[in-house]
Symmetry: C2
Subunit: 217 residues, 2 copies
């Protein structure tokens, strides 16, 4: 927390996991400060001793709040949900909550980790695009099918949930990796609907304190 | 659910994510039936049309319970926690719950997906061991550090939590991939303590209906 008591988000404008948390903070109207951690500059600022002490995983996001520092985007969102429950990001019904968490984990464990920066570095420059596309299409094939039975206006019914906070940043990654989205009409429709909401707009990678001028919009 | 109303767990004896759920079911004394999905036989039974209809991610575990089918191990465990709260697998204090979920996600998103079967296939036979070791040591370096401030007898304080359900199966994977565990005394100590508990023993890969005779113990 800052001296003013505001939570501090360690974030990188383009990190899809950071974006998930930024949407949650925006939806819940939580005022916070951003400390940008540039994952590319200086060989990666996440590897600095100072940041490692904060988050030993050397990843963004991390959130300093209420006297603790939390890493892992979904753990952060669940904490915000438990301590700042309005508006809720998990439905009341346990079965619907299970659907929300299943979709969130499908993206957060089943897709994103396989196409993140550190893995793509290991895969080597010439294989990166194919590798990332395979991870995303494989996950999106499953997700499109699951959404047939869970989706309303959004991923699960008609209320914005944690699943939607995972969906939009993952679709942005898919676009960066030139994944053809035509086989995913439900994913595309929900993504478009969500991007019209203010919380998704103010948290967008093109509007962050560390967004480079040429990428701002 | 079966005709008898028991939940059905689609599981593979050696799958670390299935083991997480088996521990939860054992701790909560939930009676269930296992349908083994052999991830290697017949080119992978998870790719059958029948199983894909159940879990489009083509992964184990999946749990049929209360009329729904849930995929993703942590989503399953959170559902069990909400509907069968005793004994609890998440502490009461929101900050401790955040630590439990952070450690769980560190393993479930930050380590396991990078060393699972489908990724190792893509990496190629000659690189598999190095790749898996790198993913595990990188995650364990962070985890060992985090445990210095969260652990008591177990990962978070002195009560068994979801984090412990993730830890033990991940250590078993580390051993399979010949990771040197001497740099991780806290992880090793907690793992050993947990393995002495009955719920971790009955759910162990060496004691499942689909464990091959030569691996039974």
């Amino acid at each position: 927390m800052t001296e003013s008591g505001k939570p501090i988000l360690y974030s990188y404008f383009r990190s899809s996991c950071s974006w998930r948390v930024r949407i949650a903070l925006a939806l819940k109207s939580i005022d916070y400060e951003t400390i940008p951690i540039n994952l590319i500059k200086d060989g990666g600022q996440q590897f600095s001793e100072e940041f490692q002490a904060l988050n030993p995983m050397k990843q963004v996001p991390a959130l300093k709040i209420d006297g603790i520092t939390i890493g892992q985007s979904l753990a952060i969102i669940e904490y915000l949900e438990e301590t700042r429950p309005t508006p809720r990001l998990l439905p009341q019904d346990p079965k619907k909550r299970a659907h929300v968490r299943m979709i969130s984990d499908l993206i957060a464990s089943g897709i994103q980790p396989l196409q993140n920066l550190s893995v793509l570095k290991q895969v080597g420059q010439e294989n990166q695009l194919t590798w990332a596309q395979k991870a995303i299409t494989s996950g999106f094939n499953a997700l499109e099918q699951i959404l047939q039975s869970t989706a309303g206006r959004y991923c699960v019914g008609d209320e914005v949930s944690m699943a939607d906070l995972c969906l939009v940043p993952q679709v942005a990654n898919a676009e960066r990796f030139k994944v053809d989205l035509t086989p995913y009409p439900t994913i595309s429709r929900i993504n478009k609907t969500l991007l019209a909401l203010e919380a998704f707009q103010v948290s967008h990678p093109c509007r962050q304190p560390d967004t480079p001028p040429e990428l701002r919009a």
